[in-house]
Each structure stands twice: as C-alpha cells, then as structure tokens.
C-alpha cells in the first residue's frame, strides 16, 4: 500500500516537470472555479427562480417581456440612495403578482409613491447597495440598519411627513402618545422642522396637594398608580416603601394652602345616589371622566381622570370647592366651571365620595413624618425628576432630565447595551426600553409605564421616525405639519369661554379639542334665538352621539354675552348670513326641495325631518333646522360641506345652485312648529 502510494507520488511529482504539469492543472482548476463566486451570486439565483415561477403563469409572456436581467439599481444622488433591491425582488412593479406569497417575487402593495423615485431603503431601511440577502436585510458590521420590521414601517413615512399622514394610524398614534403620556416632559424631542414636541398631558400641580388629598393616598398612588385607576397615565416608579413614605412626607410638608384659605365644607354631601347619578349623567361628566363598571370595563371619556375610586382620594371639602369652581385650584384645567348650586354640589360630591375602594388604603399606615424623611423625600423628588411633569413649589423643572430623543431613530447599535436574549436591533431596543425601562441597568430612573403592546409598537414607530435622515432632508423634500394655532378668545366672552373650558371639546380657529363641532364659523351658521336657547339648555342634536354638550347653568347675561360674541366674531368669510331670508320661500320650491331631499339625494338615510317616518341616525336631526340654522349657511353647506367644516362626513354632492336652493327652502320650512308651540304654552 505504502509502496503504491509512493509510486503514485513519484509518478505525479517525481521531477519538476511532472510536478509542474500536475500543479498547473490544479492551478487551472482553481482559477476555473473562481468565476463561480460571481456566477452563483444570490441575485442571479433569485432571477432564475423568478423566471421559473413566471413560466407557469397565465401572464408569462407579459412578465417575461418586462423582465430585465442583471443588477437593477435605483440611484437618487440627492439623498444618497443606491438601491439594488429589485435585482432580487424582481416582480416589485408587476401588479399581477399581488397574489404571490413566495418572496422575493411579490409585487409591492400600492403606496402613494413611485418606487423608482423613492427607492426601497428610504422606507424599509436595510442596505440598498447589497446584493446578498443577509447583507441587504440584516444588521452586519458593515451596515447597522437592518430591514425594518413591517410593523414599524410607518416610521419611515414620518421622516418626511412631519404631520399626521392618512393611512398611517400607527405613526399618528405613536406621536400622540409621545405627547400625551408625558414622554416629552423628561425627554427633549426637537423635531426636524426646528420645533420642540410639546406635551399634551396636563399633570396636576402638587404645590397645594395637601388641600386635595391625604398622605396615605399619595403613598398608595406612588406605589402603584394603576391600582387606584387602571387608566392612569402616571407611570410606576417602583419605589421602595421607605422612598414612597418619604416622598409623600415631603409633598405634604411642601404643600401650601390654596389662596391662603383653608377649605370648608359648604354643604353636607348628600347621600342620595339616584339624584347623584342623574346629575352626573345630566352634566355629561362621562364625556370626560371614566368609571369602571361592574364588569370591570372602564367606560367614559379620557379627558379627565378616572373616578372609580375618587372617594378614597379627595378630601370632601376640596371636592366641593372643585365642583364649585375648578379654576380656583387650577386655572388651566380642562374641567369646565359648571356653576352648580349648593344643592347640586352636595348631591354630586356625595355621589362621588361614595366611590371608594376600601382595599386601596387598607394597608397604608404612615407614622408622622420626620424632618429627615422630608429632606430625603425632597432629594428623591429631584432625583426622580418629578418636577419635570408636576409643578412642585420650591423645585425647578429640570432641564434635559432624560436623554434627548431627537435622533433616537439613528442611534448606532454599537452604542447600545442590549439585554441578554434580545435581538440586536434598534426597534427591539426601543420597544424593550419602553416596555421594561429598569431592566437594562440597575439604578435607571425611567419609570414603568402601563402600555399595551400595540401602544409600545406605536411609540417605537414614532421614535424611529426621529432619525438622521429626517433631520438632514432639505425642506423641499418634506411635508410640513399643519401649524397648531394658540388661539384664545379675547374679552369678557373670552373669559367665559375659558371659564367653561369650551375649547376642551370645541375647536375654534385651529385650536381646541375635537369632541364637539368646530365653532370657528358658528356665527354664520346659527340663528340667535336658537343659540341663546341652546346655551341655556342644550338639547341633543345628534341622537347617535354619546358625548353631548352639558348644561352649564349660565345666567341670562352670560348667555347674551356669549351669543353676541359668537355671532359677531365667528363669521365665515364665505357665508353672508343675511344673504338669504330665513323664511318666505315659495311653496313650489319647498315642494321641489322635499322631493330632492327624499328622492334624488335621499337625505333621510342619515337625517330625520319627519320624526314619524324618517329614521336616519347619523347626521343631526333636522326637524327644527329652520329655526336653528341660517339659510345662507344651509345653502353653502349643501354646495360644499367640507369647505365650511373640514373633515365633516357629510358627502359633497356637488349640487347645482337650483337644487341647493330648493333643499334650503325645504329645510328652512322645518321650524319644529309643534315643539315651539308647546314651549310657548
């Protein structure tokens, strides 16, 4: 055996010429294999696979004609994009490949942009220059940004679109959450257009907290805010018992009485739950405040705090003072000044104070605080940055308390410490950080928020849009956010509007809430008589709505003041309220309008004119629209509703002037006679 091997060896390598021949052959073979690296490149493999797949389809000829072999490149020099994704994703532009589930051959779903003008990596990240799957999709040493998981892809819309975008609920919601969960109270977020993101939550001032609640409640709240109210947005700081004790001691000691007076009970809280419930309902408290029902579901609005256990929280005297006039305690509160009388205050406070939870404070036993505890509490309050959100007397709001997040979407992975077992990608890091902030390092101050997985994903999406590209795009390539106005009405009426917090629900001149109709041009729209009556005693216009206008118990002079102001100031430039008469339309026109209303335009699908026959439940009831709205407004509205109130759901029917005039005549004849007569009697 050995001899044979030796003979074979000397046959091949016996002398230099033999060795030369053999080694040259080996060398040739090696060189011949060298092009294989090119020939077997992945993109060629996928292109072959595409042609194979296409061959069996009905539209094979078209697809084969469209197919271009070789590396396909999208080059956008202005933004430094080189994308070669289409080398493998061959069928991206073939709309007939929508039902292909085999990647990389599926077509791209419809988006409002042309693929060739945007490339792929602008939205999906990844390495556009790469022509291998792992280099293009994954995070490598040479490229940190892996392909963005689809659930975060809306973040890329946010790099150019600075405002809300239709079709990207995730991004819009994420941005809203960033502002409304107080993230931006601690983290500065400078937007690419130079503005700084402003918080929309309204954390209460703690300067007078001793007036409002007990130290025990503060303690329990600090330990677990969600135990008090499941919808509380206050995060859990995971404080130790001692720390919670000391902070509560400090807050109580630091509190000063409001306006120097101690609060006194003005009326003994009534214990009539039925009357309380009905007043609570009449006042539409539920539009803003939620209460947990027996089934454990939280029902009601989220403007104000949840009231399920409010009786365990507030002091009765504070509650009554608050109900009497919340502006004394907090001038900026979104809570309206209801002008309740003493009896109503007694009823309502009694009703609310009965909402207690005996478990909440059962285990809270606090000894009187010592100066050391107060001092320690003060230190903790500055350490945890409580003053970033809450106003606390004697403690300044810290600047840049938490890391700035203006470019978090481009944070280099090499600068991130990941948790064990966590995928090493930026979205996973951000989502993980929001989900469990304290898990990353001991001693971190960021508290635990109560968010659903979907909310975490939304916030992550919004944060990922804050990246280098967003900050470096020329303004010509961005879509600016609609500018938010700071409109505040002036004068006596302005004070009244502020007092009743109208703009918590109503939007006026680009500022305010979106719970109730936009009042910017209300003056062109309504008749004075109706307006005064409505302000005194709001009745419902839209039967399908849950949230309604509460009754504020305004005095006549206040109503007049408000009506005058609305009619004088909130006038649309396009509607001259006096251009059309309020009545006196010829009967023929009214009849034509009726036919159009019920026939051609079938308005009864959504509106009720004759409450006996019509059932439409979407738009406002029109039985007395003739005494409510001005004819000019109705006419203009029928012509183009969105021009008067952007975003209203009434479809634009592109009516001719004739049709619109006829329907106006018909609607102006709906004066709600019976009810008015009944009222007169």
């Amino acid at each position: 055996m050995k001899g044979k091997l030796k003979a074979f060896w000397s046959l091949l390598f016996g002398d230099s010429v033999r060795a030369f021949g053999v080694v040259s052959l080996v060398f040739l073979a090696s060189l011949a294999i060298a092009p294989s690296k090119n020939y077997f490149s992945e993109w060629r493999h996928y292109q072959r696979g595409y042609l194979k797949m296409v061959r069996n389809r009905a539209d094979a000829v078209t697809l084969q004609r469209h197919f271009q072999g070789g590396i396909q490149q999208i080059w956008l020099p202005e933004i430094g994009v080189v994308d070669r994704c289409e080398s493998c994703h061959v069928g991206l532009k073939e709309s007939s490949l929508a039902n292909v589930s085999l990647q990389p051959y599926r077509n791209h779903p419809v988006i409002p942009h042309k693929l060739g003008e945007f490339g792929c990596t602008i939205c999906h990240r990844g390495q556009g220059a790469a022509t291998t799957v792992s280099e293009a999709h994954n995070s490598t040493l040479a490229w940190e940004q892996p392909v963005l998981p689809a659930k975060y892809v809306e973040s890329s819309c946010g790099t150019c679109h600075r405002g809300p975008v239709p079709g990207t609920p995730r991004l819009n919601e994420g941005r809203r959450l960033l502002a409304s969960y107080g993230c931006v109270n601690c983290h500065t977020i400078k937007l690419a257009d130079g503005a700084t993101m402003k918080p929309t939550d309204n954390p209460p001032s703690l300067s007078h907290i001793a007036d409002k609640t007990s130290r025990e409640w503060i303690y329990a709240w600090l330990k677990d805010p969600q135990a008090y109210a499941t919808t509380a947005t206050m995060p859990n700081f995971k404080l130790s018992d001692d720390d919670a004790r000391d902070i509560s001691a400090f807050l109580m000691a630091n509190s000063t009485p409001i306006s120097g007076d101690t609060l006194a009970i003005s009326a003994k809280p009534s214990s009539d739950p039925t009357a309380g419930a009905s007043l609570y309902g009449e006042s539409f408290c539920a539009s803003c405040h939620a209460v947990q029902n027996a089934a454990g579901n939280v029902v009601g609005g989220d403007v104000g705090p949840e009231l399920t256990r409010v009786g365990s929280k507030v002091k009765p005297e504070w509650l009554q003072a608050w109900l009497r006039n919340p502006r004394i305690y907090n001038d900026g509160t979104p809570m309206p000044h209801y002008r309740f009388n003493d009896g109503q205050i007694a009823t309502l406070s009694g009703f609310l104070l009965a909402k207690t939870d005996s478990d909440l404070l059962a285990n809270v036993h606090l000894d009187p605080s010592t100066p050391q505890q107060v001092a320690h509490g003060k230190r903790l309050v500055s350490d945890y940055g409580c003053a970033s959100c809450h106003e606390i007397a004697g403690i300044k709001k810290p600047d840049n308390f938490a890391p700035e997040l203006s470019r978090i979407g481009s944070k280099p992975i090499t600068q991130i410490l990941f948790l064990a077992g966590m995928p090493h990608t930026l979205p996973d890091y951000i989502a993980g950080k929001i989900k469990q902030p304290r898990a990353f390092t001991t001693g971190l101050k960021m508290p635990q928020f109560t968010l659903t997985q979907t909310q975490i994903d939304d916030i992550t999406t919004a944060l990922l849009s804050l990246n280098d590209r967003a900050n470096s795009l020329p303004p010509s390539m961005t879509v600016a956010a609609p500018s938010e106005s700071n409109y505040q009405p002036a004068g006596q009426a302005g004070k009244l509007i502020h007092d009743m917090a109208c703009m918590t629900c109503h939007r006026i001149n680009g500022h305010g809430g979106d719970m109730a109709p936009d009042l910017s041009w209300e003056g062109s729209s309504v008749q004075r008589q109706w307006l005064t009556a409505f302000l005194k005693n709001p009745n419902t216009l839209r039967p399908a709505l849950i949230r309604r206008m509460p009754k504020f118990n305004l005095t006549d002079s206040e109503v007049n003041q408000l009506s005058d102001y609305i009619l004088a100031v909130y006038q649309s430039p396009t509607v001259d309220r006096d251009s059309m008469p309020l009545s006196g339309y010829p009967a023929g026109q009214v009849e034509l309008g009726k036919q159009l209303f019920y026939g051609k335009y079938s308005c009864q699908a959504c509106h009720i004119v004759d409450s006996n026959t019509d059932k439409g439940y979407i738009g406002p009831t029109l039985t007395q629209v003739g005494s409510r709205l001005t004819a000019a407004w109705i006419f203009q509205w029928l012509k183009d509703p969105q021009a008067l109130r952007a975003g209203t759901i009434e479809p634009n029917r592109a009516m001719s002037d004739e049709d619109a005039r006829a329907i106006t005549a018909f609607l102006m004849s709906q004066k709600g006679g019976k009810q008015q007569e009944a009222a007169k009697k």
């Binding site: 010429v17 030369f20 040739l28 060189l31 092009p35 490149q73």
Partner: protein, 168 residues
Amino acid sequence: MSDEKKIDIEKDDFSRRQFFLKLGLGSLSIAAAGTAAFAYQYLEPNVLFEPSPIVNVGNPDRYPLDSVTLDANMGIFIIHSAEGFFSLSAVCTHLGCLTAWKPELGIIACPCHGSKFYVSPPAGKRPGDKIEGPAPRPLPWKRMWVNDDGDLLVDRSIDIPPMQFVRV
C-alpha cells in the same frame, strides 16, 4: 534487463515528461485565456451612476412659442415651434461637442469645427438638418412625450425619425 527494454523505459520516460510538460503549459495557456475572459467580464460595469436617460424638462408653459432652449446638462434642445414641441440632441454628430443656439442667426452652430444646423428650415429641409460643416449626419430627434402631470419628458437614449411634434 536487456538494452532494448532500457531504451523503452527511457523512451517511455521521455514521452511521459513531454506529456506533463504539455499538460502544464496547456493548463497555463487555458488559464491565461480564461483570465482574459474573466477580465473582460470584470471590466464591464454592471451598474452605471449616470443620470436617467429620461429627463423631465418641466411644464410646456416654460417654453414660449418659437423658442429654442438648451438644457446643457442633459445635452438636448427643447424647441417650441408652430407645429408643436420637439427635442433635438445638442451633441454635434461630428465629434461630440455641445452645440449652441445662435438666436441672431436662427441656427444651431457647433463651436468646435463650424457645423451648422437648421431649426426653422427652408422647404425640403427638416429641423436638425446640416447647413454646412463637417458633421456627417443631422442632429437626431429625441423621443418626447407628456406625462400624467402634464410635464414634458424626453428620452435621450431614443432617436426618433424627424417631424414628430408633440402638441400640448
């Protein structure tokens, strides 16, 4: 061992040596030829960083009637004549210099070797035809069309037969 056999072995050895020599040299020649093919493939770029041949030259309103506009970066003329819009290559067919529009003469002229081309030609001639000079061919017409947004597009890579005007 007889002498004959010895010679045989020597002969055998010699031819075997020759075989290995040829094997080696042959392999190297094939390798050299293969490398040449390999080099050719390598030298041919697979992607080009060049502007797209399709140029958006903007709204037709930008070009008044009877105007000749040179897009020097793209090397094309956009001409709005009474018959309609058309696009001429601005690259001289002689040696590739960029031609220029001479409004005082109403012609396109090449600065390098004096070729001149018609824009509004006499009867029997077409825009782009040579008036004089060494240019071997008339300036080619480029494909032009209007997109959905109403902008004029020109594909510089496609020559079309003359006299195809775009009306807007």
